[in-house]
Amino acid sequence: MAEHRSPVDGAPLVTLYDEDLPPDNSYAFSPEDLEEDEMILNMGPQHPSTHGVLRVELKTDGEIVKDARPHIGYLHRNFEKHAENIDYQGVIPFTDRMDYVGSMGNSLAYALTVEKLLGIGVGERVAGIRVITAELQRIASHLLAMGTYGMDIGAFTPFLLCFQQRERILDLFEWLCGARLLYNYNWVGGVSHDLPEGWTDKCRRFLDEFVPVLDEVDKLLSHNKIFIRRTADIGIITPEMAKDYALSGPNLRGSGIDWDLRRDDPYLGYENYDFNIVVATSPHGPVGSCWDRYFVRVREMYESVKIVRQALDRLPAEGDVHENVPRFVRPLAGEAYCRSEAPRGELAFYIVAENKKPIPYRVKGRSPCFVAMGLFHEITRGEMIADIIAIIGSLDIVLGEIDR
């Protein structure tokens, strides 16, 4: 067996387990433990609203959920192991497939980490383009979250209105790099393509036309009485709980904690942009409810529009986007950890490099959705079946990122 030790300090990296032990099934519910009137309900992996292939095991008493156990791993694609066999640039398409509705954010986080490892920076134009694409991606991702959340609660119309706008962002991305979902756009030290001619005008026009539609959808869904009654007092994550479970992104801010990496640990020059951090004010119930998390996302879209407008205004007219792209990526032995604010929260990569090797020794992704799933059983206990759907939707998980 090969030794799994860090090339940096020689510490063991992998805990090997005994393969002869029988599999441990104690995590799943056992029918023998059920009390009278209780039933095990398997929600997923094929279910219309578990947002991918999440499987939730519910112990129910009628409509009341006594206990819930999420089972993950149905979308496990071995990303981290793959990354140990591919050169640094080649990992980027794999990162795209983690959070597949927020690909720009993933590749950005990975590129930032490798750049930190190499000790290189990017030009002002590249930084501007990265901010624009990242924020557009955030809008697209939040639109999807908003639309599907409406659908989880039973309102179908906001979903299509949101998707129309999301399509327009995807069109912009397609024009930019040829892909609509998995872009491979952020490269180490640059981006794959410069902005095409006329792209910025089209982007501005999109922003102008997008805001009224967002107002309309917001009016249609967010303040609907039924919607508020369905979401405003369930799935409460108290601020203490949010901190204990290391939540991040909109889920954390939905619990009333003012924390955003774009302001608190800025990268790509985010400190120069004028925008507000959206924190839940919870007018309809206790802080940290599903409605709060949902509404943080809605308002964050307005802030992202602000950032994109500013970035478009101050984008340098000239500049080679491949200027800093290294011919070979062969870092010295070392490690790098870099975090960034992806649409779903704090997405970070940890890379261990061997000396002058073109292949990373270890790549670890810190995924916000995986962390958010950690408190799933806490906030679902005692709720009703319909609320489980509402809670999954409000956490805005993407299984590609949880399972990797």
Binding site: E63, A155, T157, L160, I226, I385, A386
Partner: protein, 383 residues
């Protein structure tokens, strides 16, 4: 080799596969033409047939006409629903099959007709098979008492001019809950079971206020017969003023709105569609159904939608009475208008949770309906 085989197969099978399609087209075409023909015939024939047989003729032709309308109802209702949804959602909806997608539902129906008839292995085959039939039967049977007009000589255009028509309506619609419960239990699927239990609870609960609100009308008019109720609403300003919904303002208006809400709940339409809540229970009680059995549930659902809308039009909106005299067309416009309102609500509102749904019924709708019943009765008694 495979291509060659395909060609032979196509040549052999081509004409054969056409036979059921042609047959279906003929049957559907006949059904489509029936209501029109029947209505015209019942009007025409009534003058020529001897007096003793007049009623029978009208009943037979009227039944044929109404069954035709009901069989066709889901087809154009689904088209209408998809169009309403599409325009609410800023898109076009079906556009390819026929003019503006008019034949889309025919194509879909054809597809469902030819699908394999699947029964889950552990299902209760008797209940599983009987549930869709009972659903359709209850939806269709209720239409027997729905009159759609009255002739000048006082003959009511209806399958059965029952003098306790309203009571019959309440009794028959209760069967719908049974069919949903049977489907939920018979499928042997946990989601279907949940859907069935939810549906039973919901439909049984909302039947109570429905009955009370019907009583509000009955108490004011003093008759259980629907044509009498409609005739009592004749007259007034522009032929509109004496509609029940405008009498004793705003008591009857509230009663009408509540009746419509109960109708939504009884037909499992959004915001009360929890028995088939797609995002929670996959498809609720019809999770395991496919093909024609699934289509039967749709037939029943759209039949029920139309039934509730027509009843609301008859009881509160003056049925066939309107500004241009009494006219069956007016009644159909009112009925389908309310169907469109149901669709409009469905594509605008989110869904309630099951406890909130029951809360609304027992905490608000039932007390208010009782209040309305008492107050309207007292006022009528004093006048």
């Amino acid at each position: 080799m495979i291509t060659r085989f395909r060609q032979i197969e196509m040549r052999l099978m081509g004409p054969l596969t056409m036979i059921p399609i042609v047959l279906c087209l003929v049957v559907l075409g006949t059904i489509a033409a029936l209501p029109v023909v029947a209505t015209i015939l019942s009007e025409l024939v009534a003058d020529f047939v001897p007096a003793g047989l007049q009623r029978l003729t009208i009943v037979v032709l009227g039944t044929a006409g109404f069954v035709g309308i009901l069989a066709l109802n889901p087809i154009y209702s689904i088209w209408l629903e998809r169009k309403v949804a599409a325009h609410v959602q800023d898109r076009l909806g079906p556009m390819r099959v026929g003019w503006h997608g008019l034949l889309q539902s025919f194509a879909d129906g054809m597809k469902l007709l030819f699908k394999e008839d699947l029964v889950p292995r552990d299902a209760d085959r008797l209940l599983f098979g009987a549930a869709p039939m009972l659903a359709v039967a209850s939806a269709f049977a209720a239409f027997a008492i729905v009159p759609w007009g009255v002739r000048e000589d006082g003959t009511v255009l209806a399958v059965a001019n029952l003098n306790i028509g309203v009571l019959y309506f309440i009794a028959i619609t209760s069967l719908g809950a049974l069919s949903v419960l049977m489907a939920g239990w018979g499928s042997n699927n946990k989601y279907a079971l949940y859907g069935g239990m939810r549906a039973a609870a919901q439909m049984v609960s909302y039947e109570i206020p429905t009955a009370i609100l019907v009583l509000v009308v009955v108490a004011q008019v003093g008759s259980l017969s629907i044509p009498d109720i409609v005739n009592a609403q004749a007259g007034g300003i522009l032929g509109v003023g004496d509609w029940l919904v405008f009498q004793l303002f705003p008591l009857n208006l509230i009663a009408f709105v509540l009746f419509f809400i109960c109708g939504l709940a009884e037909t499992n339409r959004t915001p009360f569609d929890i028995p088939e809540a797609e995002s929670e229970l996959v498809a609720g009680f019809h999770t395991e159904y496919s093909g024609m059995r699934f289509a039967f549930f749709f037939l029943a659902e759209y039949g029920n939608m139309l039934l509730v809308s027509m009843l609301a039009a008859l009881l509160f909106l003056g049925g066939w009475i309107g500004p241009f005299g009494s006219n069956p067309l007016l009644f159909f416009i009112k009925g389908f208008g309310l169907v469109v309102v149901q669709m409009w609500l469905r594509w605008t509102l989110p869904r309630l949770r099951v406890d909130q749904l029951m809360g609304i019924c027992w905490k608000y709708v039932i007390p208010i309906s009782f209040f309305l019943l008492v107050v309207t009765t007292v006022i009528k008694g004093l006048l």
